[in-house]
Symmetry: C2
Subunit: 444 residues, 2 copies
Amino acid sequence: MAVGRKVLTLDSVNPCVKGTRLPTLAPLLERASEIQRQLAQGEEKPFREVIWCHSGDPHAAGQRPITFLRQVAAICAYPELLHADSMPRDAKQRASRILQELHGSSAGACNMEYITTAVPQTVTHYLERRDGGIRCNPRNIITCGGITRAIVDFLSLVVNEQDPSRAGVLLLVPGHPLFADAIALAGAVAVQYHLDEEGGWALDIGEIRRVLGQARGYCTPKVLCVINPGDPTGEPCAEQDVLQLAAQERLLLLADEVHQESMFTPDSPFLSFKRVLCELGPVVSSVVQLISFYSVSKGFAPDADLSQTPGVPVCQAYRQSEANTETQVVLSDLAHNAQLTQEVFSQVPGIHCNPVQGAMYSFPRIQIPARAVQEAQALGLEPDLFFCQKLLEATGIVLAPGSTFGQCLGTHHVRVTLLPPVKTLRIVLQTIADFHSAFLQRYS
Amino acid sequence: MAVGRKVLTLDSVNPCVKGTRLPTLAPLLERASEIQRQLAQGEEKPFREVIWCHSGDPHAAGQRPITFLRQVAAICAYPELLHADSMPRDAKQRASRILQELHGSSAGACNMEYITTAVPQTVTHYLERRDGGIRCNPRNIITCGGITRAIVDFLSLVVNEQDPSRAGVLLLVPGHPLFADAIALAGAVAVQYHLDEEGGWALDIGEIRRVLGQARGYCTPKVLCVINPGDPTGEPCAEQDVLQLAAQERLLLLADEVHQESMFTPDSPFLSFKRVLCELGPVVSSVVQLISFYSVSKGFAPDADLSQTPGVPVCQAYRQSEANTETQVVLSDLAHNAQLTQEVFSQVPGIHCNPVQGAMYSFPRIQIPARAVQEAQALGLEPDLFFCQKLLEATGIVLAPGSTFGQCLGTHHVRVTLLPPVKTLRIVLQTIADFHSAFLQRYS
């Protein structure tokens, strides 16, 4: 037997897989973990702790889970708790109802029927309330094990090997990086369109038409990806002209709406693409195909019926006063933090930050001097990653560089989470502002 | 706008998706659910309840979850239980240790580092114990959200659009139907090979060589799928000649080993493909690439460290005396049920059942008279599905027809779970035997 005759090698691997990118963020996060270990071992640093402000992981950032949902989850995991004094009656009632619907009364069973019938039914009720009574068919609800993977699956549906022209997918910039990878994995062609930063990160129909025209030269555009509200930009975008464009240009709309519960400005409640589509009437709604993604990993659930708990069953936990109080606290903290971010950054020369209406991030544009850009390029780094590395080493703060999400050529951004407690965020923002001033000075 | 100009239609959908099959089982299960509802509404039937014996869902079949693991899961879901009298000290200690490793001390956070670092470390310790000390590198452990999906992903790696000859995947018959669908979704070519029923469902190297030779005429065989122990056949198959064949024929070995904890004959403990490969030495082990799948959804965890609990964290729950007692009960029940199945079916003319050593099913061959085959074909049904339908209507027992898993042309089988309580299984087996005798008489 010859050596090295392995089946799977870097040469032989599916080229779609090679089209995905190593996350820009990974080395930064590894370094942050290393610093955290060094601090724990007593090493001296100019700061006392690593503060993780790069991600949208609510509990990691210190957000409290909703008590009621956790009680229900615990009882479902260990039904003996139905008899425990430590659990309140309403949680026991809810868990008891859920357990009755599960095969073998166990949340550990496969429960295919529960997942394919009971959960879609619950989601349907939720969506009908959300959309002001617009009807929802539970057969249109599909439960998935994580949307990162589900987006690849749905994109794969429109890819057709027998089609001589490859399928094109319109991809927003800036946008969550999972889309670019999903498009690569599905074997489709990514067609970038830019959001309008000066217009508060709005979707720009003219820009979409422009890139569509170009793309038709080298692929068949079939899908338009949108994020509502935006990640990392926070801007809602369910507007009639987007759907009219999808109808005219024959685009399937793939809407990431995982941050729908995090709209925190009182004058703009969440508006779903589904609702806007239905309200446009059958001329448009009979033509446009819409796939909307929702996740239980982001929600803190104003309606407390689809929330961030381990395991499936708690999807059936409904509105409950205690949960509503807790979620109101989360929402008003987010609104306050968005306001605070705006106030602090607007004072800083060289930082420009649009107001944030939803999701859980700000995405300020930061000035990076030419000398810093050159130094970064000499190191083979994106300039904003270079900035984030310097910030981490000097302050312990971890931000996500804008290049992770895409940005207009020559502009630089960072994504800052709104999730930390107000007190922490105030210090974080001021530290970023001070560091940026020093950075400007050093490289100008 | 013209009507019907939708992007995604049955004509335009990715042809790989069209290659998957609607599960044969689905209409049978729907009918069984309907009968269950009718019984609940007081309708008269020749039986009093539906008995689900088609699946490998331990808890649905009444198997008890391991208490310790459920306590740990409940505490992780709702850490207030660390202070509850209702929870024992050891479970609190275990949960406390897990929570310390989680971001924000919350099992609801994303916990990427926990999933990509701590869990692989735990799995590594488990595998090293399992394989008699053979070293394991945690970088080779990949956590996935369900192996049904993960198998498609791994198969996709070996598919290469630029390759003029499509990738072939050797698929065992009978075997779990998810493989055929995964091969279709990945865009590869399924190449069937048959297990040797007369040899106790053993892998037949001659048969694999024979189909390999034929397949090379129309594809490039790259992957050999095996199930160890078999599903639905229960036969262990980690043998040196399989690995030698993989080395000689340059096949990546994709081993479904999800039932590894369910080997219940004392004289044949589970032997992993990894262990056999390492023991063959570097001439073979440096050439053969092996991907082995393990699932927390099947295990009842003899070592109690990877088990059937909702949510991730309990993967870190280690050996513990109570858990060991409970798992011993599960294993000895399975062994007893396998023996009982053998005894009952061996008395029945027209039913042939190989002894079962592992997993959680028997897969007896059942005689179906020519007249029944004709009647089934007239209805457009597989003869074994026809048998299962008649059995359901007459007795309320739900079995999985052999055609779901594949079988030699002209033979017919059913998959019967070993999971029900002994008392229930005894009645189920005798009822199947009696019904089959009546069926033979009616159609001969």
